[in-house]
């Protein structure tokens, strides 16, 4: 059981430019202090509503954005991890820690290191129509990572493309077609093939089934599970669809306005959600059973803007359990037992 990805205090701010000289007047705090670990071989679900920063988090891990602050450790061997953890607690300013970080912290990688990293981490986008170049043949689309990273080209690349195409369930003829000749589900399979052709270790799935039909969704999700077992992949499954996340993920984290408010094993979270936001979120999912109807919506109001998040706990304006302390201090993630971490003063009064 080793950790593949370890994120420490990751922040990503987007500047809001204003004024005559287009200076940065404010920051959209898309990801504001996230620290999680993803185990090798698991499917880590990341849940939240629009604007909570889950997509930004995924793309920042992938280094499609440069993190504003924080560290991302990818594929670090176990003993080094322990050393880093120990040094962080004991001597945060040591040179050894800095050198270790330089070596393993991918948030500072550039050039060739970054290119080698791309081989190991990939992403599948939400909308297969816009994530595939409409003027390229499927063969070229899938072969692009191979060519760009220098893994293979020409005939050898074609062989690898064929292999991965067949694995995702498309025929050989699909190679010589344009994306618009396929249906949505097939296009998403092409996107999956493109992500997997360079045999990555870590794949970020950014709402891969939202733009696809309901009947195709199940096929794609089964494909994901099969591929994970066969290639030993680690997934980060970003979604706002809780029912799918419940079925496919091993562990789930819930994000609100740039911060993780709760994370645990899947059954734990869905059976016993502790954070008020998690409870409201899970209660809002419409249950396909007409005998169980709810009259009032579990959560009122709207998500505040990430430019100016509320002080203290970000959820306090909409929280039914808000107390005075929630308006002043930000709750940290604390262990509530059974690998269940929550950031809420109302849940863990003694620990905060």
């Amino acid at each position: 059981m080793s950790y593949l990805v370890q994120i420490r205090n990751l922040r990503k701010y987007f500047p809001v430019l204003g004024g005559v000289l287009r200076r940065s007047v404010a920051n959209v705090k898309a990801v504001d202090g996230v620290s999680i670990d993803v185990l090798k071989g698991e499917c880590f679900g990341l849940v939240g509503e629009s604007g909570c920063g889950k997509t930004t988090l995924g793309k920042t891990i992938l280094r499609l954005y440069k993190p504003s602050m924080g560290h991302i450790f990818f594929g670090v061997p176990g003993d080094v991890v322990n050393e880093i953890n120990a040094l962080e607690n004991s001597n945060p300013k040591s040179r050894r820690l800095r050198r270790l970080r330089e070596q393993y912290d991918i948030s500072t990688y550039r050039g060739r290191d970054l290119l080698l990293l791309r081989r190991k981490m990939q992403i599948v986008y939400q909308d297969p129509t816009t994530s595939l170049d409409p003027r390229m043949l499927v063969k070229d689309i899938i072969a692009e990572p191979l060519v760009a990273q220098g893994i293979a080209k020409g005939e050898e690349a074609k062989k690898m493309v064929l292999e991965i195409l067949n694995r995702v369930g498309l025929s050989d003829q699909a190679m010589y077609r344009f994306p618009h000749e396929f249906s949505g589900g097939q296009r998403q399979r092409v996107a999956i093939a493109r992500a997997l052709v360079s045999r990555p270790d870590f794949v970020i799935l950014d709402e891969p089934t939202s733009a696809v039909d309901v009947s195709v969704r199940a096929q794609l999700l089964n494909l994901f599970t099969d591929l994970q077992k066969e290639y030993g992949l680690t997934y980060m499954f970003i979604s706002h669809d809780l029912s799918i996340v419940e079925c496919i993920s091993h562990r789930v984290a819930i994000m609100y306005l740039g911060k993780i408010v709760e994370y645990s094993l899947t059954e734990e979270i869905f059976k016993k959600p502790l954070h008020p936001y998690s409870q409201a979120l899970i209660a809002s999912v419409p249950v396909p059973d007409p005998t169980q109807r709810k009259e009032r919506p579990p959560l009122t109001g709207e998500v505040p803007s990430p430019v100016n998040p509320p002080a203290g706990c970000r959820f306090h304006p909409r929280c039914p359990l808000a107390m005075n302390i929630c308006k002043q201090k930000e709750p940290q993630l604390v262990d509530a037992g059974n690998q269940h971490y929550v950031a809420c003063f109302a849940v863990n009064p003694e620990k905060n």
């Binding site: 509503e49 039909d213 089964n222 669809d241 419409p286 396909p288 009032r296």
Partner: protein
């Protein structure tokens, strides 16, 4: 049938004439919306649910054409066939008797007009005489009944289509009328539970969040108190918590405004939470129609059953329906679901099953339940 049907679609056939061929989008669709109920129209992409709703308003875009059937709508002058209406009656029907809300709210709001401008446009198109009279009343109360403005209003009331009046409309100040309409707009925005309606009135669509924009769209649809509301997947693009709020709002509309709502969706959870009756569509046909408890409790058609089984379940994993939706150009003969149906029989390949009442008020189109004479 004790409840009157407000909209009845009978045997509707719609074809799309494209470069690639003739797409038989709807092939004899039968849907009936009863008074005061929420009917859920469920189906995947390509099943024809959006085309059905657009046909009711005669808004099917070219190269689509309605080729057969009838759509009966209950309006002031009784039961009329929409397909035979002339342009003027259609225009007066749209927005007033039947209103529609769509999936992506910000795409259906004009980005260069404020919320107030857009809702007042809807109000003025259909309810202008009423507001002109109100404006005149207000002016009379303020003892300005003899001014130019008041006489303009009187002229607009008397002869709305004359050239002189239309000129006046463009260039005169209609402050009182605008104020009256603004009051109504605020009232409508309050009824869809928008906080601080006066501020929202002045906002532009890009300043609104998804949930707010959808409420504004619903407000626009309700501005003229329509009897029928058609909602084409209004919550698909919204977050789950906002969706819960909108669903509550829709239930409120049914209760307070007594509207009949045709709610199109592909999410069975929403259907279970919201709808009174459900119609399931597949590849251009309605395959089953029943009360919501019936559909979830004892579904008849194999497609309905497969849909219910494909709902993700943590214990059972994902069960998908094998195969893909058939193409609608040169559609296959007989029942269009037969290639994916585990109960397909020989007769299913030859003739399309008729839409029969299998149980009380529970219709299905499948040879498993008869119809194969």
């Amino acid at each position: 049938m004790s409840l009157a049907t407000v909209v009845e679609v009978k045997d509707l056939k719609v074809n799309f004439y494209t470069y690639a061929g003739v797409v038989e989008a709807l092939d004899g669709v039968n849907v009936s919306l009863r008074e005061g109920e929420i009917l859920g129209l469920v189906g995947e992409t390509g099943s024809g649910k959006s085309v059905t709703s657009l046909s009711v308003m005669m808004l099917v875009p070219p190269p689509g054409r309605i080729e057969g059937g009838a759509i009966y709508v209950q309006n002031d002058s009784g039961r009329e066939d929409v397909l035979l209406m002339n342009d003027a009656s259609l225009r007066s029907m749209r927005g007033k008797d039947i209103a529609m809300i769509f999936q992506e709210p910000r795409a259906y709001l004009n980005p260069v007009y404020t919320v107030e401008d857009q809702i007042s446009e809807v109000i003025l198109v259909h309810r202008k005489p009423e507001f002109l009279k109100n404006a005149l009343e207000v002016l009379k109360k303020k003892r300005r009944g003899g001014t130019v403005e008041a006489s303009n209003y009187r002229r607009m009331l008397r002869n709305p289509r004359s050239l002189g009046v239309r000129f006046i409309q463009k260039f005169s100040s209609k402050k009182t009328l605008k104020n009256e309409v603004r009051k109504e707009v605020t009232k409508v925005l309050k009824s869809v539970e928008i906080p601080d309606p006066e501020r929202v009135c002045r906002m532009y669509p890009h300043e609104l969040s998804g949930g707010m924009a959808q409420r504004v769209l619903i407000a626009m649809a309700l501005a003229c108190n329509p009897k029928v509301l058609i909602a084409d997947e209004p919550t698909t693009n919204l977050d789950v918590t906002v969706q819960a709020q909108i669903l509550t709002l829709v239930r409120l509309l049914k209760r307070d405004f007594k509207s009949s709502i045709l709610y199109i969706t592909h999410d069975l959870g929403v259907v279970a939470q919201l709808c009174d009756r459900v119609a399931v569509m597949y590849a251009g046909n309605v395959v089953e129609t029943a009360d919501v408890f019936e559909i979830f409790g004892s579904p008849f058609h194999p497609y309905t059953r497969a849909l219910l089984e494909s709902i993700p379940n943590p214990e059972k994993g994902f069960k998908s329906i094998p195969g893909i939706v058939p193409g609608l150009i040169n559609p296959i003969s007989g029942c269009r679901f037969r290639d994916r149906c585990s109960y397909a029989m020989e007769i299913c390949q030859k003739v399309k099953p008729p839409f029969l009442e299998v149980k009380k008020d529970h219709f299905a189109a499948c040879y498993l339940y008869g119809g194969s004479q």
